[in-house]
Symmetry: C2
C-alpha cells in the first residue's frame, strides 16, 4: 500500500516538517521507506523473546505494553494511542530478545520503518538522527515519569492523573486493563470510580 | 582544576575513544570543556525546581536520585556510582524546572559539561551527538527496566536483583536508603536480609 501524506496523522507530518525542518521533498522521500502494518484487535505486535527490528508509529488505534511477573500475571506499563511510537526500545537498540509484549486493543494501523533502512537514512540525513534522539529522549522522560508516579502516587492519584493526561483511556481501554495498569483488582477500580464521581 | 586523562575513570576515556571513535586529539579537546565539581557527602547536586543546565559524570562517589510524594516522603528511584551520568534528564532537555533530587551519599567528584558548550561541540562533531543519543538510550532502557521491576517484583526479588547488578550498594549505601528504594520499612529490610542469609 502506498502511503500518502493525506492518509497520515497530521502530527506525524508536522513532527518531521515543522519540528525537524524536513523539506517537503525530504519528507516525501522518507515516506517511501515506511510501510503500513495493520493489526486486528487483540493481535500482538511484539512478544517477549522477539527481537525488535523496526520502529512503529500508531497512525490509528491503541495498544497496551505489558510484562509478565514470575507468576505469569500481566503487568501493564502503559497504553499508547495515535501519535505514539511502540515496540521494545532496548531490544531495538541492542538487537537482543526483548521482554515486553505489545498488544492491539483496537484494530490498528501502524507506520513501520525497518531498522536497517532507518540507519541508512540517518547516515544520509543528520535530521533523521536528531529525530531519533528526540524520540528516545521522550521515551526516557515518559518512563522516568511513570517510575516516579508508581513510586509516589496511590492508585486513586494515578487514576486521576490518567484522566487528566490520557482521557481517551476511559472510552477505549477495557476496565480490566485499566485496573491491571493501576495494579488493583477490577472491583477496587469500580469502587474508586464511584468514590471519585461523588467528589466531582 | 585542569582535567588530565590520568585522573579520569578509564571507562570514561574508553567510552569516547573506543565506542565512539574519538581520536586522542578529539578527546583531549573535549576534555578541555569539562570541569570538575566536588560535592561533600549529603550535599545536593540537584533539587526539584532547579533547571538542569549541565551533564554530570560520576568520576568518584555515589548518589541517590529521589522524588517527593504528596506527603513529603522521599521515594528513591535509583542509586548511581562511578561511570554513571546524573541530573534531571527531562529538565535538561526541556530547560524547565525539574522534579528530581540528586544527593551525594559519599564525597563525590563529578565531571561537568555545560549544556550550551555541549551543543556547540555537537554541531562541530557528529560523534558528540551519537554519544548523547547513546546516553539517553541507556537512560531510557534503565528507566524502563526499573518500571518493569517495580511492577513485577516483590521487595525480596528487587533486593536480590540489586545484589546482583549493583553489589556495591550494600557497602556504600545506608540501610534506610536501601529500604526507601525498596519501598519497605528498615525493620522489614532487616528481616528480609536475615531470611535471605539463611537461604544462601
Amino acid at each position: 500500500m502506498v502511503i500518502t501524506r493525506e492518509k497520515i496523522d497530521k502530527r506525524f507530518v508536522d513532527l518531521f516538517e515543522s519540528t525537524f525542518g524536513f523539506t517537503r521533498e525530504e519528507f516525501d522521500h522518507l515516506l517511501t521507506y515506511f510501510e503500513v502494518l495493520t493489526l486486528k484487535k487483540k493481535e500482538h505486535y511484539f512478544r517477549a523473546g522477539d527481537v525488535c527490528r523496526q520502529q512503529a508509529y500508531i497512525n490509528k488505534g491503541c495498544t497496551r505494553t505489558y510484562v509478565l511477573d514470575n507468576e505469569g500475571h500481566e503487568r501493564i506499563l502503559f497504553f499508547a494511542f495515535e501519535d505514539w511510537w511502540i515496540g521494545d526500545l532496548e531490544s531495538y537498540y541492542t538487537q537482543k530478545p526483548g521482554v515486553n509484549f505489545v498488544q492491539a486493543l483496537e484494530d490498528c494501523e501502524l507506520l513501520i520503518i525497518k531498522r536497517d533502512l532507518f540507519q541508512k537514512l540517518a547516515l544520509e540525513n543528520p535530521k533523521m538522527q536528531q529525530w531519533y534522539t528526540y524520540k528516545v529522549q521522550r521515551a526516557a522522560n515518559a518512563m522516568w515519569r511513570r517510575l516516579s508516579e508508581v513510586k509516589t502516587e496511590s492508585p486513586e492519584e494515578r487514576y486521576l492523573n490518567m484522566l487528566n493526561t490520557q482521557p481517551q483511556v476511559i472510552d477505549r481501554v477495557p476496565l480490566q486493563h485499566i485496573a491491571a495498569y493501576l495494579n488493583i483488582e477490577p472491583q477496587s477500580l469500580s469502587r474508586l470510580r464511584k468514590r471519585i464521581s461523588k467528589k466531582i
